[in-house]
């Protein structure tokens, strides 16, 4: 192929006004190079399919999809933040806080500043979770921009604050709880909550449908809106973005809001799957969401990457966990193996970038 291109170049001096476009050349090769993570996932699945007969069963695959969906929702939000060169360490805590508050209001009467309401239904519960997410995202965004605190420190701080707040709200107990002292209480979550977490629609887990919709929406925002373009500009070269008039603070606040809203949604879906919420839920989701994004090929320093890679990253993590379970690997080893695989995938990815200059 390179021989052919060379000949093209040999045509000599280019006449002004007649550039020779070569836009589609080499796209097959590009695809191959860019789909490294997908190939890794494919190989992993092929190995598991041969190693254990249970892996390829429909029920197991549905199970993997259901479990991975929550991680995908987290990872899409994390992708937005990482694309700007930031990092959100508070997604798990945001999810737990949003889920706890919404689960409490859905299962008992609460008293906020003298106004009593609840127990509320599914729609109100979801709205409350998202409002909590919105607040958490704004707080992170403002700390990072107006407060001029590094992303890492700001979200490390809010991580603790959100967990603490969630513990306060739930009193450290799972919700719904039989120990509730509220005047009016019910001991179960609305059935719609449970069904978005563990129900199916035409044989597909509803959680997976949500995760896919979120991914698609994320892709559209990143590719087709000014906000999306600003994200790449801020992460790619902050100074260039500034001198081109991009509103950096607004973009930064925007990505933290997206991340926290999706974390709240993920927490809500997780509540449905577990049929309960608690202040310590989604404990591994911080690191797993970051790992998904990085495995998916998004540059940790920002400016390069996208949501589809992150889905693949999340699936990789989900499939590894599921496979190790099926192979009866003990939990201790599981952690070691998972960590190792993540590092190896990223090393491979870095090498690939250097080697092929993509």
């Amino acid at each position: 192929m390179s021989q052919k291109l060379v000949q093209d170049q040999d045509l000599g001096v280019q006449v002004v006004g007649e550039p020779r476009f070569r836009r589609f050349r080499g796209s097959a090769r590009d695809l191959l190079i860019q789909s490294g993570p997908l190939i890794a996932l494919f190989l992993l699945a092929a190995y598991l399919a041969s190693a254990t007969p249970y892996f390829m069963t429909e029920s197991n695959l549905v199970n993997v999809a259901r479990r991975t969906s929550v991680l995908v929702i987290f990872a899409i939000g994390q992708t937005f933040v990482i694309l700007t060169g930031g990092i959100d360490l508070s997604v798990g805590a945001t999810a737990a806080l949003a889920a706890s508050i919404s689960a409490v209001t859905m299962t008992q009467q609460v008293n906020v500043l003298g106004i009593k309401f609840g127990p509320v239904g599914f729609v109100e519960g979801l709205a409350i979770a998202l409002v909590v997410g919105l607040g958490a995202g704004l707080l992170n965004g403002l700390l990072v921009t107006r407060g001029r605190i590094p992303d890492f420190i700001a979200t490390l701080g809010t991580l603790e604050v959100f967990r603490g707040a969630a513990l306060l709200v739930t009193g450290g107990l799972p919700v719904p709880s039989y120990y509730s002292k509220a005047e009016k209480a019910r001991n179960y979550l609305p059935k719609e909550v449970v069904s978005i977490g563990s129900g199916d629609w035409l044989g597909i887990p509803i959680a997976a449908v949500i995760a896919l919709s979120v991914t698609l929406l994320g892709w559209v925002i990143l590719r087709y809106t000014a906000f999306g373009r600003s994200i790449f500009a801020v992460g790619g070269n902050r100074e260039a973005a500034r001198v081109s008039g991009i509103k950096i603070d607004r973009t930064k606040i925007g990505v933290y809001v997206v991340s926290a809203l999706l974390a709240a949604l993920a927490g809500f879906v997780l509540t449905g799957r577990l049929n309960s919420a608690n202040a310590l839920m989604a404990g591994e989701e911080n690191l797993n969401s970051i790992a998904s994004v990085v495995i998916g090929g998004t540059n940790l320093f920002g400016g390069e990457g996208g949501v589809f890679g992150s889905i693949i990253g999340a699936l990789t993590i989900g499939v590894i966990g599921n496979g190790l379970n099926l192979l009866n690997v003990s939990d201790f080893y599981q952690r070691i193996i998972q960590g190792t695989i993540i590092v190896v995938v990223v090393i491979f990815d870095q090498w690939r970038r250097r080697r092929f200059g993509v």
């Binding site: 050349r25 925002i221 000014a226």
Partner: protein, 496 residues
Amino acid sequence: METRTPLLRMERIDKSFPGVHALDHVDFDLYEGEVHILLGENGAGKSTLMKILSGSLPADSGRIIIQGEEIRHHSPERASKLGIGMVYQEFSLVPSLTVAENIFLGDPPRNRAGIVRWGELYRRARESLATLGVDIDPRARVGNLSVAEQQLTEIARILAKQPRILLLDEPTSALSDTEVDRLFEIIRRLQSRGVGIIYISHRLDEVSRIGTRVTVMRDGRVIGTLPVEQADIDTLIKMMVGRRLSEQYPKTLSVQAGQPLLRVENLCAEPFLRNLSFEVRTGEIVGIFGLMGAGQAELAQALFGLLPVTAGQIYLNGQPVKIRRPTEAIQHGIGLLLRDRKASLVPMQALPANITLANISQLSFMGPLNLRSEERIATRYVQELTIRPPILKRPVKFLSGGNQQKVCLARWLASGARVLIVDEPTRGIDVGAKAEVFALLDQLAAQQGVGIIMISSEMPELLAMADRILVMRQGKFSASYQRGEATQELLLRSAS
């Protein structure tokens, strides 16, 4: 000369990037005490050839022979052991470190215990800056320096290593005449000590000033090598471009300057600018000249909201305006092409995204993008400015320096700005494309009534293109010339 063994020979060097054959079996040699000038259009392969010599890029094939010995397994460390020092087109400085730390990067003076001797570090840094004849604080952070100062720091850094083979990739593109003169003095001094120098430039007048031989490249191949005596500018241009150039400075003269567009009264930005008053009318090109640090860049920054204005007033179309951020400047229809390319481009984004960035910044948050029209705009400027290779989806970090400059320029040509400030608009752009750039600027002014402020250190450019030239000295205007009144001597005298 040909009977001596050369200091350096490069034989049949070949290098391809995806979709581009950057070097096609290039032969090149260099003798002791020679300044070998390397010319060629943007993207001809000059920087690539030098990067291969300095070990920072591997060649696909070919041999490098230094003083008769072939170099195998070339690397940057190897190159610096062999006495090869390279001043990169895109600098290799660490912005967060001080000037002195950069100059002795990786090899600071230490005492026996291996601890850095800071006193000596700063003293020696000051000395090496002094030999360049520049006044830069060795304790200043490189990130805060102007482009010219960074360029000089980069040069000082390489000279401190006392190379035997010195590679200079467009060292003067950001310098004004005084610094250029000093640099040439140093080059002559090194030359007399037997150092071999390869010098890349787009300023053709420099060829006869310091060159001994000239090699011209085009599309990755060597077109020919000449001794300077035979290398008159017309011949060189013809070798470079493969055709004769039409008008170098196309300028529509019949335009009457119209309404005042931008008026500045007593503008101050302490400590850089003091009491500047001037105006720019529709269709007018106002040139600004000054030596390094006279405040031209700061004036541009102040007008664009990058530097806080401490006193004075800016009027646009007669209305007083306050500009605190670039966003606001763009809203008001002001555009600024910075001298610093690194601060302007988003390296991993493709051409269309980079060209339309200023327009996109003015859309609402969820405002939809029109990718098709972006491509149309990009295609237009790829053609008009001959951006090469014309592959729209390629990230701009893979473009040659001059082509990157064209992308920066295209952004502001496409921005629809009513007042356009350009700081060294043709920095690093080859002779052929320079004419296109001037034609586009002229068209903007003459046909669309844009007011252009053109900051440049190249006096011929200013004399040919500007309707009026303002000269700056120490943050003030020291003279103003109408078109036709000024000469190079007058400009220099008013500037110093």
